[in-house]
Symmetry: C2
Subunit: 202 residues, 2 copies
């Protein structure tokens, strides 16, 4: 399998962490790409028409976006599944994944606003709106930090990759302030070899 990949993409990181946790990483060839919404890489656009990564190529099959790539990878190993098959555990994991992805979507939009867009075209209400989503997600995660313990799922992986992205791109945010339980959980989770091996570039 080939994975269109960037070391700074938190959505790609989800797939890589899952692959390492399940032993699939040895079956994945990482193909580095550099792509942004205003300068899409042709090698991404030719595989994923909306030009986003991760995209996973397995023979004739090309899959995207990150939830689909992750669930597909989870079907390809025989260890414990990180997508619970059904029932309460599945909905809890998928909702947590959506919360982490939603935090990331807001963070990426805020990042594009304040680093990609020309200075005179920035709109503070847009950034403020995205930052409010990040804040809301962090507050919700602090409240439910107790539910993050327990068997590893795609929910925890996504939330950890989202928090890692905040450390990478929004260090000044100080997300750990007033979120002691979430910070403690992440501090431990970030020690997993899968997380250490996929740290964004320093």
């Amino acid at each position: 399998m080939k994975l269109l990949y960037s070391p700074s993409s938190p959505y790609v990181r989800k797939a890589l962490v899952l692959a390492i946790e399940t032993g699939l990483d040895r079956s994945i060839e990482k193909v580095p790409v550099t792509t942004t919404p205003v300068a899409p890489a042709p090698e991404v656009a030719s595989r994923n028409p909306v030009s986003k990564i991760p995209a996973l190529i397995d023979g004739a099959l090309t899959l995207y976006d990150s939830p689909v790539v992750c669930e597909y990878l989870d079907s390809k190993h025989r260890k414990k599944k990180l997508f619970p098959a059904k029932g309460k555990a599945r909905w809890a994991a998928l909702r947590q994944q959506a919360l982490g992805d939603g935090l990331l979507d807001a963070a990426l939009l805020a990042r594009y606003e304040n680093f990609l867009r020309p200075t005179d075209k920035r709109w503070s209400e847009w950034s403020d709106g995205q930052m409010a989503k990040i804040d809301g997600a962090l507050n919700a995660l602090e409240k439910e930090a107790g539910t993050l313990k327990g068997a590893l799922t795609i929910g925890q992986i996504t939330i950890a990759c989202a928090l890692g992205y905040l450390d990478f791109r929004f260090a000044e945010l100080g997300w750990r302030d007033k979120r002691k339980k979430l910070a403690a959980w992440y501090g431990k989770f970030a020690q997993r070899p899968s997380m250490k091996a996929t740290m964004p570039p320093g």
Copy 2:
């Protein structure tokens, strides 16, 4: 169940179409909300920390985003499932859902850029980048229009809601030009009672 809802949201429409197709619509109370990235509705933010719809409330459980809401609803009826359980059919449906959602994500960002953002803060390269994603998705869908026939899945529903959104907000785009197969498929799909009952406001 309660669904936080807007008649103009294409992501909400996915859930409504699925509910009608499976007979679940009678079990869903639609709660109308008005929310944007710069003016999030408090009643949405209190349920979905990243303030997006659809959000589905079923007793103590609140679910988001649209793929999770749709898969949950699909677990709640006994008709033919619209999320294939496994194998090639599942990956085909999930990839098509991601393609339709990706088209919509680009369309919503282009819409926010050109209708929500103050005129002097608009950046044409951003709009152009989003429109290129829409164009790429449409071209890919035209190529694979043949695969849209066959048993109803969440893939088809998502693509139809995405095309319906282009008619609603991007009529000037003329997406049917040079996409005759896709246009023919959509022309037929749009006649389903579930699609007619969920048309965005005129």
